[in-house]
Amino acid sequence: MAAHMTNAHRRFLQVLMSNRITEGSEARKLHQHCCETDKVYYAHDKLDDFISTINSHLQPLFMQIRKGISEDDGRAHYAVVNLAETEVTKMASDYTEMELELFRKTMDLIILSENGFASSTDILNLADQLKTKKMKKKEAEQVLKVFVEDKWLSEKNGEYTLHTRCIIEMEQYILSYYQDLAKKCNLCHSLAIQSQVCESCGIGMHLPCARKYFRGQTEPRCPKCNEFWSCDTPGVNRMGSQT
């Protein structure tokens, strides 16, 4: 078996699990903290090795520390994911059947939307159509709040999208369940929930990926069809892709 686990690895894993999702710079600080606390060798540039040691021990349990990129700011995040059941059922122990149905429907709205957002009005309109049991709008509002608190959804000005945690944990599931409907980023090739879409050829890109790609270009052009890229990339106005 690969390198053995020390208490520093165990401590790191414990904190990562209780955090649910950990931003990259936090993870690096935590790496240092754990190594110093448990007095094991620390190299600041060896976080990936440190994590892969843990992963080799998690593998038989069908668990993994996975890295994902935030669609908002392009920063790396880490989460402990359960590969044995990557579908929504993993949330089953935390939520009622009714709440899960609301989540699935919300996810449908988000993934089928143009820009990766679903408005609270649209979601709340689903509440009385649930098959499990109808939900009052007030209740649904409360449930949405919990989804945001638990980092399955994130909310901006009354619009909801999938949280980075949700994307890291459910990427495989979403790609297989929604197949062609789920967009992939033309640049990094991973799942793209919030994306900018080319008006002429329809490819999508993550905002941070597009920002990186267009940096320094005076006239942004689509990497695939070379047409003028009409979306507003500075990232302030995410609704630019709606037209």
Binding site: R10, S18, H33, I54, P60, N82
Partner: protein
């Protein structure tokens, strides 16, 4: 779930209170792979329960994970505990040997620093430590009214919403208690709080006394009886 179908060829008919009623000779032998699969499932099950700090009953383990593998129960539990220790630094501990209730306790020494728990959790643990200290210093048992008065002094009012803790009474009596922390004795009009089993396992009287001493700027030995009690377990 599919108990009926599964029990067909086996000696076990149904899951009663976790009593093993199989006749050993009639029980199928399970392959090592199948057992290991169950071990992994059990580890996941325990981790989920632990995140919510719910004590785990043996009957729940049997019902949710073990099913027809009852005859391998102790092997599965032992192996799961080994993985929990080696990979996660957690240990499976039976806190009630009559009703067979388990919790996971952290085997890693608590480190000072900001990384132990997230956001609100950290503040809650702070309040918990203060409450545990109070109980210990008051002779290991306090009436609920005494605890509420004490919290009042800290401007944490049980009846009112607190900006960090929310409903404090609920936090103390529902969140801290079922997880096995402070322990109200069930004699209605007046409840008493004591240390629960998790507190006994995850912290020690010595640590708590050291904390109190630090807060008060005194030596732990200043409190003679608590000092000797705290050192009893370790000496």
């Amino acid at each position: 779930m599919s108990q009926r179908k599964r029990s067909k060829g086996l000696g076990c008919s149904q899951m009663t209170d976790g009593e093993v009623d199989c006749i050993p000779t009639q029980v199928e032998r399970h392959s090592q792979d199948q057992v290991n699969q169950k071990v992994n499932e059990l580890v996941q099950f325990l981790l989920v329960k632990d995140q919510k700090k719910i004590p785990i009953k043996r009957t729940d383990i049997l019902k949710n994970v073990i099913w027809e593998y009852k005859n391998a129960y102790s092997e599965i539990v032992k192996k799961a505990d080994k993985i929990l220790q080696e990979v996660f630094g957690l240990q499976l501990v039976e806190i009630d040997s009559k009703r067979h209730i388990y919790i996971l306790v952290n085997k890693l020494l608590h480190a000072e620093g900001q990384h132990l728990c997230r956001g609100k959790e950290k503040e809650k643990m702070g309040l918990l430590l203060v409450i545990l200290s109070f109980i210990f210093m008051k002779g290991n048992s306090v009436k609920d009214s005494t605890l509420w008065e004490f919290l009042h002094l800290l401007r944490v009012y049980p009846g009112r919403q607190h900006s960090v803790f929310g409903d404090v009474r609920k936090l103390v009596t529902e969140e801290f208690v079922p997880g096995g922390h402070p322990h109200p004795l069930t004699e209605p009009p007046e409840f008493k709080f004591q240390w629960g089993p998790r507190a006994e396992k995850e912290t020690s009287k010595k640590d708590v006394l050291n904390f109190v001493a630090k807060m008060q700027g005194k030596e732990p030995a200043f409190w003679a009886s608590q000092y000797s009690e705290a050192n009893q377990g370790t000496a």
